[in-house]
Point group: C2
Chain length 230, copies 2
């Protein structure tokens, strides 16, 4: 997936530091390491039974993806994204998805649209079963399909990257009352717009569909820490 390389199309060898980076990323996203925590090279090295070198390489990868922050001579810390930043990322995600949707509407083949409908049907099943986790997962593949159908590998990669980055914040709002039903309805309209080749409509629908997540996130925040102003 990640390597459509001109140099070594075979291989797909994952070095040790890649594996460790992926593991750490998962652990950060799932909350083993709370934001602000310092990641200790030595103890992680011991835990994974390697030296500090691969750990440090993993840190660099995480830093690049914005998950941790490297404070020179002080260590790496799990990044605490500010609410503003998170909202900004949601806004960008909404715009990127809009672009994907517009291009997908112009470029999708019949087979691809069928695949989209199938993914959406899977969402519906999960929704009707009331299985939020499963819906979450199927929802992911639905969106990934749209990224792919934009017909631009670079765009697809970037979309996936940001999608992944926002994962924990999207998950937070999954259990908000009524969100699943609303999301489901939006999906239907989106697929129809893409199938009909209505690029602008698909873009607008997707933008709203994602932007609402940013807004929900905002709601969650204000609930947690209500405004204390007069």
């Amino acid at each position: 997936m990640s390597s459509h390389s001109a140099i070594h199309d075979s291989a797909e060898v994952r070095s040790r530091s890649d594996v460790i980076a992926a593991l750490l990323e998962e652990q950060i996203l799932t909350g083993r390491f709370a934001p602000g925590t310092r990641l200790d090279e030595a103890s992680l090295a011991e835990e994974h039974e390697v030296s500090r070198t691969p750990i440090r390489e993993a840190f660099q990868k995480l830093a690049q993806s914005g998950l941790v922050e490297h404070a020179p001579r002080r260590g790496v810390f799990v990044r605490q994204a500010t609410p503003v930043e998170i909202m900004e990322m949601f806004e960008v995600m909404a715009e990127i998805e809009a672009v994907c949707g517009r291009l997908a509407a112009l470029r999708s083949t019949e087979a691809q649209i069928d695949a989209l409908r199938r993914a959406n049907a899977a969402c519906r099943l999960a929704f009707e079963a009331g299985d939020a986790d499963r819906y979450y997962e199927q929802n992911g593949t639905f969106h990934h399909l749209i990224y792919a159908q934009a017909g631009n590998r670079y765009l697809e990669q970037e979309a996936r990257r940001l999608h992944r980055r926002l994962k924990p914040y999207r998950r937070m709002q999954l259990h908000l009352r009524g969100r699943l039903a609303q999301s489901m309805a939006e999906h239907e309209a989106i697929v129809d717009a893409i199938a009909a080749g209505e690029g602008t409509l698909a873009a607008d629908l997707l933008r709203d569909h994602v932007a609402v997540q940013g807004e929900k996130f905002h709601h969650l925040l204000t609930q947690l820490r209500p405004v204390t102003q007069a």
Copy 2:
């Protein structure tokens, strides 16, 4: 600029590997290392009078930004982006700039629009002086201003990143006959649209303004390697 961090707002210390990475990036973009070249750890270490460790760290940073490719157990190679990839990146750049333009139209202050006009005036001066290099530079600040005026730091960062990545390919077409005049005219219209708060128009103008670069790039390619089909 790069660190609006919650953890260490001071510092802005650049580690040795950062400096080396920046240097190597510059050297790759300016063509000292041709695409496909293998970057030798040992000789670079010697050249910069450091050990292999910082060199390897710099390699990782370059790999993350897509400039080089890491082939496990074989070394890192200057990435030869395929024409398709480059076109894809131009397409994404066009879309991102469109988004920036739309948001800027909605959010720019009067002072910011003045700044935009000044940057554009600087472009015009360079254009009238026939100084393509200077135009290129001023053009860069013009676009960076638009990124900033979108009022979304994350978006701004991403836009700058891609802008930077496309630098060498944009430069290629600078000297195409008539391009400067056309670019100049487009700038005027873009500023007007943003000043008027016409988001959709600004987006469309910017999308075309950037997309045409991808097309010009395509023309250059077909000129270099004419189609040999019957």
